[in-house]
């Protein structure tokens, strides 16, 4: 597997949800969510404060090479940088708790922006300027290595600077491992891009596996989907009523922990129909899908759970089991690059027809 994380601000838009989904979720700049430039929603963050999302550990063994992308529109004015000219938002690769290398937005004045590359406090390089306030799909390649083995590369799309195949800026033969050890396993996105920065469609790949192990096409969009019907089996116990799906399809931005489904019986499964992917051509393939389940132990104790996916033919496959042993509500994310039932890339047709759910394993 190489697709490690996606975030489209579609299904989660509240700091409570983000706090469960991410290792660090800070809303210091009055972030808000509104209709995005392509589909669904986007995040907007204002002010000089450093709102950020920092992923949980994405891989057990840190990888050296990573690819990330996000759709960004810088501030429509040059404001917001006046007090933190050189401390804007950006992406930082971490190895454990140690930052390795950071690509940071920088206000060059007059409405122009650059990307600056830092290792710790050391400025490694700075990209050419771009002064557009249009949406840009940026992609970043991090090779987090010590000595002169590291590199950073930036690509852009929908800018003055060329298509996705054109490298906007690159920095080679540099030390990009501030911790002194190769590799990264966590990424932090900081959203300080001036008074009105906008963000959408984040992905993170590493270079492992046979798919999603490089840049994407240069422009991706992320859809969100929530349960909209009970599926083939609903064996868990609803917190109220008899309908299950409506207890777990909290709207983005409105987490509701009082409505839930519960189970203490190993083997019990709840499957749900999900909203279809609108606006997508039927033959279109998906690069991947990331499921998220929010919950926890009702009382002290420990349970093993896993995601379960049922295709239109009735065959089922499960994800990797995880353990919950504490009562605070938490979030479990799992990436399915391919349809686990058929082991082929997801298509819109397959996603629309599939049911997704949860199984109490033991």
């Amino acid at each position: 597997m190489a697709l490690r994380w996606i975030e489209g601000f579609e299904t989660d838009q509240d700091v409570v949800d983000f706090g469960r989904k991410y290792a660090v979720a800070v809303n210091s700049g009055s972030w808000s969510f509104s209709t995005g430039p392509k589909v669904g929603s986007m995040m907007q963050a204002g002010g000089n404060a450093d709102s950020e999302l920092r992923t949980k550990t994405l891989v057990i063994t840190p990888s050296n090479t990573w690819f990330t992308g996000w759709r960004v529109r810088c501030s429509t004015t040059s404001g917001g940088f006046t007090t933190v000219t050189d401390r804007g938002g950006g992406i930082t690769a971490f190895r454990g708790a140690s930052d390795q290398v950071e690509i940071r937005i920088h206000s060059a004045g007059g409405g122009a922006f650059t990307w600056r590359v830092y290792r710790g406090a050391t400025l490694l390089g700075e990209s050419p300027s771009f002064w557009d306030s249009d949406w840009i799909y940026w992609e970043f390649k991090f090779v987090c290595r010590t000595g002169t083995n590291g590199s950073v590369e930036i690509k852009s799309r929908d800018t003055y600077h060329g298509s996705a195949s054109t490298v906007f800026y690159s920095l080679a033969a540099v030390n990009t491992a501030n911790s002194g050890t190769d590799g990264a396993d966590t990424f932090r996105f900081k959203f300080q891009f001036g008074n009105n920065g906008s963000f959408d469609d984040i992905y993170i790949n590493d270079d492992s596996g046979s798919v999603n192990n490089d840049y994407t096409s240069g422009d991706v969009v992320i859809f969100g989907s929530s349960p909209n019907g009970d599926g083939n089996r609903v064996q868990w116990t609803p917190s109220s009523g008899t309908v299950h799906f409506s207890l777990v399809n909290d709207p983005a931005g409105t987490p509701s922990d009082t409505t839930k489904i519960k189970s203490q019986t190993p083997g019990q499964v709840d499957l749900f129909d999900y909203q279809n992917l609108a606006l997508v051509s039927s033959g279109q393939s998906l690069l991947g899908l990331m499921m998220g389940t929010t919950g926890g132990m009702e009382t002290s104790g420990s349970r093993n759970l896993r995601h379960i996916i049922r295709d239109t033919g009735g065959s089922e496959a499960t994800g990797t089991a995880w353990n919950w042993s504490t009562t605070p509500t938490q979030h479990q994310a799992e990436v399915f690059e391919q349809n686990p039932v058929t082991s082929v890339p997801w298509t819109k047709t397959a996603v629309d027809a599939a049911q997704f759910g949860i199984e109490l394993v033991s």
């Binding site: 697709l3 996606i6 489209g8 579609e10 989660d12 509104s34 209709t35 430039p37 392509k38 589909v39 004015t77 122009a112 050419p128 249009d134 949406w135 003055y160 600077h161 060329g162 996705a164 054109t166 096409s217 240069g218 422009d219 991706v220 969009v221 992320i222 969100g224 989907s225 868990w236 116990t237 917190s239 777990v248 399809n249 909290d250 409505t259 519960k262 203490q264 709840d270 992917l277 606006l279 997508v280 051509s281 033959g283 279109q284 393939s285 690069l287 991947g288 899908l289 499921m291 998220g292 389940t293 929010t294 919950g295 132990m297 009382t299 002290s300 104790g301 759970l305 997801w346 949860i358």
Partner: protein, 549 residues
């Protein structure tokens, strides 16, 4: 009070279940064993254990007691301090088996390729302002309903096909500096197509008349004849057609028309209208199979666009049995309109200082006329005339004749045009004057030394950038930090060094930030593979964003 009631329930459970009684007894033995080894701690554990058991409901109590028993015995035998922990763990195990997990929310996010080949359909109209909409680019069109019973004809290539692609851009200029801000007003361009139908067969003349009469009455469909495609393999009726889909306006969602021609390709025997559901470079997929077999030699596929009611249509009868229709059709505005060719630059166009460098050559079969125009106002004062010039200086206005180019190169230009539109985006234009002779490159590439002929003063005062076109076509733009007369040479000091050598250059001249003067492109297709156009370009003195409200 609640705790009291629960304990009572526990007692009931014990008396009504043999297994419960056994479990209680086993638990009791464990307490004795452990108390021998660790009295204080284990006393507490027992109490805890008891409480935990009480907290469980009856069926689980039976099962859990047995599990806890095994753990207690094992640890008692080891007779270590760990035994203290084990009963506690046992108690946790009891809870664990009975414990409920709860799920409060589940959702997924899916990531899709949104590249121009198969973009996500774009019907998100919440962001209805020009800058965003203009860059939506390859949004899928939503065609109108298929016109029933409509006859298609092939274009007569004795005439050209003309396609006009128009945008509407709001340009705000500062009077003092001519600084510009430009905003797109249309999300998609509006197109106009002109083509010719000619028929000389009595039966098909009747069809031609019937079709022509429909144009003043209905919104119909116009094939984009200049972008015709032929199957690259034959097959039976199919929803997949192998063809070259590149370098033409073909979009997912778009309606295409597939024509089955007679043997001499002069007449259409059958026509299918289908929508493209998937597009790859070498094939397309349709919403339903064709109604006839697809042949490499007798099938032709056209992208189409929906056209407005044409208030006037005419047939020119060349003879009593030969008729010609010259169509001039305008695209229907709205979701059915075709999007721009691209939101991105062609990948091989170079950039400097954040904007692309125009790299299309003028067709020297005609002179390149360069105008130097000054914006200003003309007042009449009595018998005199007062001119109020605006902006810091004049601007260059020129008109490049592009092509005739073959499809690949022309569509590269058309893509560049579409990229620049919506905001009349600026680009670098390197003057086509080839009068500077480079003598040396010094200062590690930062000094360009020229033969001191002519007059450099104008460059110093008028232009701050120098452009270089190398023999291999590479284009370079640098800021001129300084221009000096060193006696033997004139030296331009660049802000960043260049790496080429003297002799590599084909042309060195001024570079100017420029934009297209008109937000309209008129393509003249001489054949289905060769096109030409004229492109007016005007210099931009200053770019400036203006905050609205």
């Amino acid at each position: 009070m609640a705790e009291v009631r629960v304990r009572a329930l526990y007692a009931e459970a014990i008396f009504t279940s043999n297994q419960s009684v056994e479990a209680s007894k086993q638990s009791f033995e464990a307490v004795i064993d452990n108390s021998l080894t660790n009295t204080q701690a284990l006393t507490k554990v027992c109490a805890l254990y008891g409480e935990l058991v009480v907290a469980l409901n009856f069926p689980q109590l039976v099962r859990m007691s047995k599990q806890s028993w095994e753990a207690i015995l094992n640890n008692a035998n080891t007779n270590t301090a760990a035994a203290v922990k084990v009963p506690f763990l046992s108690a946790e195990l009891l809870l664990g088996v009975a414990a409920q997990a709860g799920v409060t929310k589940q959702a997924f996010e899916a990531i899709l390729d949104n590249s121009e080949t198969n973009p996500v359909a774009d019907i998100n109209v919440a962001a209805l302002y020009g800058e965003i909409l203009a860059q939506r680019g390859p949004a899928a069109p939503i065609p109108l309903d298929d016109p029933s019973g409509f006859d298609f004809f092939v274009h007569n290539w004795s005439n050209v096909v003309t396609m006009t692609t128009s945008y509407m851009t709001d340009v705000v200029q500062a009077q003092d500096t001519l600084a510009e801000e430009r905003r797109a007003l249309w999300s998609r361009p509006n197109r106009q197509i002109k083509f010719t139908w000619l028929q000389n067969d009595a039966e098909w003349m009747i069809h031609l008349r019937a079709a022509t009469i429909r144009f003043p009455n209905e919104r119909l469909v116009a094939p984009l004849y200049q972008h015709q495609m032929f199957p690259t393999s034959s097959s039976g009726a199919s929803a997949t057609i192998n063809l070259d889909s590149t370098k033409r306006p073909l979009f997912v969602g778009q309606r295409i028309v597939i024509l089955k021609l007679n043997r001499d390709r002069s007449r259409v025997d059958a026509a299918d209208m289908r929508r493209v559901t998937y597009k790859a470079d070498t094939y397309i997929e349709l919403d339903s199979p064709t109604s006839f077999a697809i042949g490499e030699t007798d099938t032709v596929i056209f992208p189409t666009m929906d056209t407005e009611v044409n208030l006037k249509s005419a047939i020119s009868f060349v003879t009593e049995t030969v008729g010609r229709v010259d169509m001039d059709l305008t695209e229907v505005v709205g979701p059915s309109a075709l999007p721009p060719l691209s939101i991105a630059l062609p990948g091989d166009i170079e950039s400097a200082y954040g904007i692309p460098i125009f790299d299309f050559e003028h067709d020297w079969s005609e002179p390149l006329q360069t105008h130097y125009i000054r914006d200003g106002r003309n007042f009449t004062q009595g018998r005199g005339t007062v001119i109020d010039p605006q902006g810091a200086r004049h601007r260059l206005l020129t008109a490049y004749k592009i092509g005739p180019f073959e499809r690949e190169e022309f569509m590269r230009f058309a893509t560049f045009f579409d990229y620049c539109q919506g905001r009349l985006r600026p680009f670098w234009l390197i003057d086509q004057e080839n009068n500077w002779e480079l003598l040396a490159i010094n200062g590690g590439g930062s000094f360009l030394d020229f033969d001191p002929v002519g007059d450099f003063d104008e460059f110093i005062t008028v232009n701050e950038y120098v452009g270089v076109i190398l023999e291999d076509g590479t284009r370079i733009v640098r800021h001129a930090d300084d221009v000096e007369d060193l006696g033997g040479v004139w030296r331009i000091t660049l802000d960043a060094p260049v790496t080429f050598s003297v002799g590599d250059e084909r042309l060195i001249a001024r570079a100017r930030t420029s934009r297209f003067n008109k937000d309209e492109l008129v393509e003249t297709w001489v054949t289905d593979g060769v096109a030409t156009c004229v492109s007016e370009i005007i210099e931009v003195l200053e770019e400036k964003d203006v905050d609205l409200g």
